[in-house]
Symmetry: C2
Subunit: 342 residues, 2 copies
């Protein structure tokens, strides 16, 4: 019997079609490598192919926009939003709009031509995490911005383009994305009723129940969510309550890097190096104004959502208006738990 | 300058990246034909390949589950939900779930092996519309169901499988899908403020403003929505206010069939026969219980949303948590307006 499961945070019902469950090798996976590659503008020595760097981790004595770096942040070559200008909020009859002001930056995670973050060292991944934090803190100073989305598109069908060089994207926006608001509202509703953080409760239940737990390590857990939208969806949550990703300390950065590498390696090895996305979910800036979000420090909890893109099966929601997950979360967790990575 | 546009109904901000605008031939389109076909279980003469029919339009004197039909509805071979059983709503710690009770039916739109609904006659399309209405009315009698989703997945990357035989899907669910609730809530909020239906206002503004209007014909309009999530997204709206798709009369069925064929033909001809989805948005059943949805007859307005699936560009939201539409809605409308179809 398939199940209808409700996401406890945003209240979304998902069909978990356990009987349709397929083993990963039954999916028609499109490996990342299947699209012809384009010349890489992100390798060391190709600095002239990108706009001037915004941030870099460099060897002492090397000049900006020249070789000698380990990580670099540059403006997007094809930005979704523009940094210069006024918001100019306005109406057009019944419609509301504003100028597409924002920042769109690319974090080049390594000077080497490595495609999957799973193949970076823990030290390199930690450097990426620190970079995210420093960029978010810097972008917060711009009073026009309300939110910074940090995400990764790996592989062609995850929107990652045809350059296989590990990178993530940072978008600062003058509005709070709808999915951020929904999470905040849902977490607040739970807090009002229970006077507890819903994510802290989730972490406890998953550790106790074990059947959706993949890894429990050094202050973080990786789980397949109860009401997964996508097969092999994975959430990484910190055990220590905090609504702000930017507040994690040095030790937590080390441990998060270790956890990210573990999870991404298992996805790579177990699911044939699939395309994937991840998004860091963290509280918005300037929340003093957010009304019922006054308790956000207590009721929201930052985390990372990782979604492998297994061709076709991920597209159900498009057609149906309903998320349909063809792999039981417990089966996905068991599968990922049993993968051995080095 | 890109624009941030707000969907007036659900309040979703969308980045309309007008500067990234591409002509349709710049997309890496994956034509529907590119995947090898499977043997067709939906053609006349193959009735034994499907479960017993639930509904059919047949020539007089022909027997059920035998040739002689023009349209057939059968249970899905791979149902997302099961018709037999109790809902058994229950909790599992902090989580809520219920059995996956529901109906999942396939509307086989023609006895001939034609893939795209665009290539059916207006009469055939009208027969499909009538069938939707009769099936919704029948499913409403089952007290376990709250909503019936009617949708179409055409082509491999729209979730349409590898059989090129025109069909749509009907799913009856015991819960109201989140996106339905969001629309109802948004439409209600507008109604409370303006005492007018937001969709009626939208129809008027689009007819007057003209730049997103594709077709205005016999009581229906086809427009590219102001805050499109996807390139070349099209909405078909009736001018006559009604919250219920099932209440359209005989003449409206004829006119809707004409409009659907027009729109689907333009998408096929203009965009190289792309995969697409459509979903009929209509009010839920048993709404007496819905609290603040008491004014639903006045404030909600049924319509159809059609989304071509142009490879890659449609996946932005996955990665970013934000819908990014790489084609300006006005450019998409102009393009589709100027396509000549016979």
């Amino acid at each position: 019997m398939p199940e209808l499961r409700k996401d406890p945070i945003v209240g979304r019902w998902v069909i978990v079609a356990t009987e349709r469950s397929k083993r990963p090798d039954n999916f028609s996976l499109v490996p990342v490598e299947s699209m012809p590659e384009k010349p890489c503008p992100f390798c060391e020595g190709q600095e002239s192919q990108t706009p001037n760097e915004i941030y870099a981790v460099r060897s002492p004595g090397t000049a900006k926009n020249s070789p000698g770096w380990q990580l670099r942040v540059v403006p997007s070559l094809t930005p979704f939003l523009r940094i210069e200008g006024e918001l100019d909020r306005r109406g057009k009859g019944m419609y509301d709009l504003m100028n597409g002001i924002g920042a769109h930056e690319i974090v080049v995670e390594t000077n080497q031509h490595i495609g999957n973050m799973a193949d970076l060292s823990e030290e390199q991944i930690k450097r990426v995490i620190t970079c995210y934090i420093e960029r978010i803190n810097d972008l917060e100073k711009d009073k026009r911005f309300k939110y910074v989305l940090v995400f990764k598109n790996y592989g062609w069908s995850a929107g990652g383009g045809r350059v296989r060089h590990a990178r993530s994207q940072i978008i600062a926006t003058p509005v709070n994305p709808k999915r951020v608001k929904e999470e905040l509202v849902g977490a607040h509703r739970y807090y009002e009723y229970h006077e507890r953080c819903i994510f802290c409760d989730l972490v406890k239940q998953e550790i106790q129940q074990k059947d959706r737990l993949i890894i429990d390590l050094d202050g973080f857990i990786a789980v397949v969510p109860f009401a997964s939208r996508f097969p092999f969806e994975v959430w990484i949550l910190p055990k220590r309550h905090s609504c702000d990703f930017v507040n994690i300390n040095e030790e937590e950065r080390v441990n998060l890097a270790k956890m990210l590498k573990q999870v991404l390696q298992r996805i790579k090895v177990g699911l044939n190096d699939p395309p994937y996305n991840y998004i860091i979910h963290t509280a918005p800036f300037r929340r003093a104004k957010l009304g019922y979000w006054k308790t956000i420090n207590e009721d929201y909890h930052w985390h990372i959502e990782i979604t492998p893109r297994l061709t076709r099966v991920a597209g159900f929601e498009w057609g149906t208006g309903f998320y349909i997950c063809p792999v039981a979360p417990e089966a996905a967790a068991k599968f990922l738990r049993e993968i051995t990575v080095t």
